[in-house]
């Protein structure tokens, strides 16, 4: 697993806010993706879009409820197609499977198309350790591989980099002149990688979808690197989370309508490739071996929790990132692990452990825009609240992110809000206490150190001199008479 820095969200996001280059990059990306998504939805009509979302969600609910059945069917069908399926319970096992395949088949060079799961596993590092040269081939992934960074966005991994930074990186790592034109930068990557595609022994891909009934792996790409990785080398290894399976080939059309539109606003990506095992005997070309590695790595924990299961419906389009006011300001790296943004704030704590990611459920204003943008209608805010609840009520004291004072304050508030008389007395007491601490209706910033995390960036209103209840009773209700 790559280094977990989820516990540092608060600090990382503060640093991110001060990083002018990052802010510039985020601002440019800004509403671009989301605007394109909205346009794409308009062009098919909001009513159709809603029908598709509901339909897709139904299929995902069904597929996950019967995941054991569909994984079994998938395994049978991939095997019938001439491929091999391997099951990995965690990242170590998944990495070992791929490196054993590589080792036993004398793989020297591997080319990879984009796979978030391989980032989750830190597969490149493990393969490199066993002597395999690994090349990321998606342009964004290639850039961050050169920079030795992790992706900051599900769909555009190098979104955090300005073109000047990319130019400098290519100059340093590949000894090319400092380029000004983005097209020239892409050409440099093309030239380097083209050679690798055709000399690679192994192509590694993720999967956007797996089709149980036909044993198919589906990848959707724009650059053509996915096609090359699954066509040119003698071995193809597909590696993906076990939740990606859908029942029928005829379910795929629906998901292909939702995913690219939600991700980039395209009606369809340049390429959709459906792999049904290794090349057949009479085929002109294609890998002679096909391996599918299905990864659990914490997913069954989410499956078992009815409150969190729907996070597994995610098709990784990135729409929730593109619309999130928090992501838009702090960028993907602040989230401290592989999966950024609202969906990452849910998935990461479940995969790395809530204790190590206790800030992430709070990395949201709960505005709900992510839920509205999600093509599968995943209720992200509800799950964030659930995780917050888990954090405050955990029986493991070290996991609790709220101190004793906070817990007591919450318990006390909960109690008095249920008892109007006590509430009224408490209010009167606070009105007296706050008098010397307030200034023009707000609390003085320095007055209460215990509230400093709130008052640092915001005003804390004092309790009004008269409660609405008493205004109602003494003034409003009377007027009505």
């Amino acid at each position: 697993m790559p280094e977990v820095k989820t516990q540092a969200f608060r600090n990382s996001s503060e640093t991110a806010l001060k990083n002018t280059q990052l802010q510039q990059a985020l601002k440019r990306a800004g509403t671009g993706f989301d605007g394109a998504r909205r346009q794409a939805i308009d062009s098919v009509g909001a009513d159709n879009w809603e029908l598709w979302r509901d339909e897709a969600r139904k299929i995902k609910i069904h597929a996950l409820e019967n995941l054991d059945y569909y994984l079994d069917l998938l395994e049978q069908k991939v095997t019938e197609n001439g491929g091999e399926v391997h099951f990995a319970k965690d990242s170590e096992e998944a990495n070992l499977i791929v490196s054993q395949i590589a080792k036993s088949r004398n793989v020297q060079i591997a080319t990879k198309s984009k796979s978030m799961v391989s980032e989750e596993l830190d597969l490149n590092k493990v393969l490199e350790k066993s002597g395999v040269e690994v090349y990321e081939t998606d342009l964004g992934e290639y850039i961050i591989q050169l920079a030795e960074e992790t992706p900051s966005h599900l769909v555009a991994p190098a979104l955090h980099k300005t073109k000047e930074e990319v130019a400098l990186l290519l100059h340093e790592k590949l000894q090319v002149p400092i380029l000004d034109d983005i097209e020239d930068m892409a050409r440099v990557a093309r030239d380097v990688l083209r050679d690798k595609f055709f000399n690679a022994d192994m192509g590694i891909s993720g999967a956007n979808f797996l089709i149980a009934e036909t044993g198919s792996l589906v990848i959707i790409t724009n650059e053509g690197n996915g096609r090359l990785c699954t066509s040119a080398p003698r071995i193809h290894v597909g590696i993906t989370g076990m939740e990606k399976v859908i029942p029928s080939l005829q379910d795929l059309g629906l998901f292909l309508r939702l995913l690219p539109r939600s991700a980039t606003g395209q009606h369809l990506t340049s390429y959709v490739s459906i792999v049904n095992g290794p090349k057949r005997e009479t085929d002109e070309d294609g890998p002679s071996e096909f391996h599918l590695v299905l990864v659990d790595n914490g997913r069954s924990r989410m499956l078992a929790d009815p409150e969190l299961r729907e996070a597994l419906y995610c098709i990784r389009c990135g729409a929730c990132l593109n619309i999130c006011p928090v992501y838009q300001k702090v960028g993907g790296h602040s989230y401290g692990w592989v999966y950024p943004g609202p969906i990452g704030a849910i998935v990461s704590p479940e995969l790395v452990g809530l204790k190590r990611a206790s800030d992430l459920p709070f990395a949201s204003s709960l505005c709900g825009a992510c839920k509205d943008a999600c093509p599968i209608k995943i209720n992200i805010p509800r799950m964030l609240l659930h995780q917050r609840h888990k954090l405050s009520e955990s029986t493991d004291v070290s996991e609790r992110n709220i101190g004793l004072t906070g817990r007591l304050a919450a318990k006390f508030t909960g109690h008095i809000l249920q008892h109007p008389k006590q509430l009224s007395i408490t209010r009167s007491i606070i009105r007296l206490i706050q008098l010397p601490l307030s200034n023009k209706g707000t609390l003085k910033k320095t007055s209460l150190p215990i509230l400093s995390r709130w008052t640092k960036n915001r005003d804390m209103k004092v309790i009004a001199p008269k409660s609405f209840r008493s205004i109602w009773q003494t003034e409003l209700y009377k007027d009505k008479d």
């Binding site: 059945y69 964004g140 979104l159 724009n222 650059e223 096609r227 090359l228 009606h267 340049s270």
Partner: protein, 250 residues
């Protein structure tokens, strides 16, 4: 050769089942309608599809021209075969093609492509290991890496998305439409379908009819290779073709 790597299937499935609160394998409940469909059901759907495709032929081709253009295919439609052939000749000349590769598909019985390439002095190779020419696999691959253009037919063409769909097989390499910087796809009207769902229905039928095999690969091509990974700026031709041409015969 099957090695057991990782967790044995039964153990893995048992743990998934455990997460779902079950202890024994069971069929989906309620059953999923698509997986309940029989070959006869699908054949009925196929019949409906065929009837639908019989009407509005001209409008369908026009709609394809529009949707394919929207994904940046260069599209031209020729009801007359000679006009198509002379357009292709002009295109190859304009592009300055010196080396071409092509697949071996039935469309080339209609378009005299080899004669045309030959007359233009273009060096060309047919990528078909069982056909005439008999290039070795290494030679064939090198041809496809070096060629200026790759010429293929199409297996389906989807109006909804402006996609050419190809099913790599004997006579149709995966790389003809991918290796060269330009791809020319020649589309015959009977390959045109309305939606993605049409393609998946037909492929699913093929799978069932062939005893559970629908070929190793299926590719939807919708325009040129693109990226916007640097500052969301569109660049075409990053790993695949930068230019794609569609010629519709009809």
């Amino acid at each position: 050769m099957t090695e057991i790597l990782g967790t044995p299937k039964d153990d893995f499935l048992a743990s998934v089942r455990g997460a779902l609160g079950r202890s024994t394998p069971s069929n989906p409940s309620p059953p999923y309608f698509r997986l309940e469909e029989s070959l006869t059901d699908l054949e009925k759907m196929e019949q409906d599809l065929k009837e639908r495709l019989l009407i509005d032929h001209d409008q369908r081709i026009n709609a394809l021209v529009e949707s394919a253009r929207a994904t940046a295919w260069n599209v031209n439609r020729f009801p007359n075969l000679e006009e198509a052939t002379s357009y292709i000749a002009d295109l190859l000349t304009t592009l300055g093609v010196q080396h071409a590769v092509r697949s071996n598909q039935s469309i080339f019985h209609q378009i005299p492509i080899d004669e045309l390439l030959n007359n233009l002095g273009i060096e060309s190779a047919v990528i078909d290991q069982n056909g005439a020419g008999q290039l070795s696999q290494t030679q064939a691959r090198q041809k496809m890496i070096d060629a200026d253009i790759g010429i293929t037919g199409s297996d389906y063409c989807v109006v909804e998305t402006g996609s050419v769909v190809i099913l790599p097989r004997a006579g149709l390499s995966r790389l003809v439409s991918l290796g060269p910087p330009v791809h020319l796809a020649i589309v015959s009207p009977q390959e045109i379908v309305d939606t993605l769902d049409d393609v998946f229905l037909l492929r699913r039928l093929d799978y069932l009819r062939n005893g559970g095999d629908m070929g190793s690969y299926l590719n939807f091509i919708s325009g040129p290779s693109r990226t916007a990974d640097i500052e969301q700026t569109l660049v075409v031709g990053v790993h695949g073709p930068k230019e794609v041409h569609m010629v519709i015969l009809g």
